[in-house]
Amino acid sequence: MKAFSRIRVLFRITHARRIIRRYFVTNGFDGVLTMLGLLMGFHISQATDLMVAINACMGAAVALGMSGLSSAYISEAAERKRELRALEQALLADLSESDYGRAARFVPVIVALVNGFAPFLLSLLIMTPLWMGHHGIQFPLPPLETSIALALLMIFLLGIFLGQISGTSWIWMGIKATMLGLLTAGLILLTGMAS
């Protein structure tokens, strides 16, 4: 219990919850749109081998996760260090062993994990119909198209989450986000037709 309240304090003094939420949505969107792009690519090329799609999507998911993990850690650690130094100058004290020092070391790790795992886990979820299809489980739609529908559903849910954060109409935010997904899919279809 005491450890949890300590973590809450570290999160509060660094406004980490806000940062984590932002990273989750930003990189979550990145992950889902990348998956949508890949799946649309396979749909246009009428690829029938699900294993090829699974491996390509898995490769992209791992790359997105690693990119999210490393980029967030590097940028957040630098940001925390800068803030810690500014506060140390204002207080004329060494804060490395204080809650601020601990937060400067701990928060970038949490932010990096969220930023890395958000696109990775969402990608895995989107890929589920491909795996299930590969193992012979039937859907009303073919596995590739089911995954595309699932990606659009994820975009809708991320939109709802954004709507709840901003306190505006969550359904309208969900629809706006889905329209963005549909626009992306439409653009990919157009470029596919052009080539």
Partner: protein
């Protein structure tokens, strides 16, 4: 022989943890009976507070340790009052 102590500290601290959280953390020290925090000055990143702490057999080092753990630093000890319980009792008699 229990010693009642009252100390007044001039502390420079960041805005977070706020006054409530700051006092709550100090109160976790078992020897402390009463704490009063008064805001003396507010700057962009820091604030100066006056802490009045009362308790029996208080350990100053532990108090200063908790303050520095929260990012604060004791600038000065402005007042110290010590009452040895038996001495107080004898005076009353």
């Amino acid at each position: 022989m229990p010693v009642f102590m009252r100390i007044v500290l001039d502390v420079l601290k960041p805005h977070q943890p706020n006054a409530l959280e700051f006092v709550r953390r100090l109160q976790e020290l078992e020897s402390i009976g009463r704490i009063k925090l008064t805001l003396a000055e507010m700057d962009e990143k820091t604030e100066t507070v006056v802490l009045t702490i009362e308790g029996l057999d208080m350990d100053y080092e532990r108090i200063a340790g908790v303050i520095s753990e929260m990012g604060g630093s004791v600038h000065s000890i402005d007042e110290v009052e010590v009452i040895v319980e038996s001495a107080a009792g004898e005076a009353e008699e």
